[in-house]
Symmetry: C2
Subunit: 142 residues, 2 copies
């Protein structure tokens, strides 16, 4: 199996990104530990190996990696508080690029399977489901 080091150089090459030291370290920090990482956490980890790195570089490169598909963004939506008055059961379709939200019916979900797969004790009595993708307009722009 290729090391994370080689893996990154390979991926960067394919995307046409310069494989700089900082990028190498940032990428490895995310991939080394499974799970979900905040920009601050990555920054903290990366500094241990490269103390001179700046937080802006971490943000820049995380964004860059997400754009090029080297990393995946968790909850890729507008970060501001949004509320709605419609309490009827329904779900959301969110465009990851323009952050637009539209409603969608929930027939595509097998609730039995879902609750079987969720860990014991997880309360799904009123689940809200958000499906991320690219809206027509944004996918046309690509």
């Amino acid at each position: 199996m290729p090391s994370a080091h080689e893996q990154f150089r390979d991926l960067a090459w394919k995307c046409g990104l310069a494989a700089t030291h900082q990028r190498q370290v940032i990428y490895e920090a995310v991939v080394a530990i499974p799970g979900h990482h905040s920009a601050e956490a990555v920054y903290a980890e990366v500094r241990r190996r490269t103390p001179s790195i700046s937080l802006a570089t971490v943000y820049n490169n995380l964004r860059l990696f997400v754009e090029h598909g080297l990393l995946r963004e968790v909850s890729p939506h507008a970060s501001t508080l949004l509320v709605e008055g419609n309490l009827e059961p329904h779900h959301h379709l969110v465009c990851t690029r323009c952050k637009a939200v539209q409603d969608i019916e929930g027939d595509f979900i097998n609730y039995k399977k879902l609750s079987r797969q969720a860990p014991r004790g997880f309360d799904l009595t009123q689940p809200l489901i958000e499906v991320f993708g690219l809206c027509r307009r944004c996918s046309a722009k690509t």
Copy 2:
């Protein structure tokens, strides 16, 4: 059918919330127009009727309404940038209270139905789905 006015007084009463003028106006601003509303948008709308209201009051009461179930929060998750290195297809289970994210398999989704229900042109080739609920620990606290 009850007016939004009466509806609010009724709901507020049930939740033990004082039905103040400001709350009335905030609630009506959200319910009047279907869709998803940012705090700023609600603030702008509400000011037209009650210019002296403060943005903090809008935030306070939107949060309050969400807590009491009068409104629903869209994308109720941590607002900070999160990334992960795991590119294998999988989805997320998010606790709306503590914002913890865990991975979940996607067998509960009928992708055919999903793409049939999505509007034409919406790109779902690599959908990311997030299911919101309450984790064991948080639902125990209630």
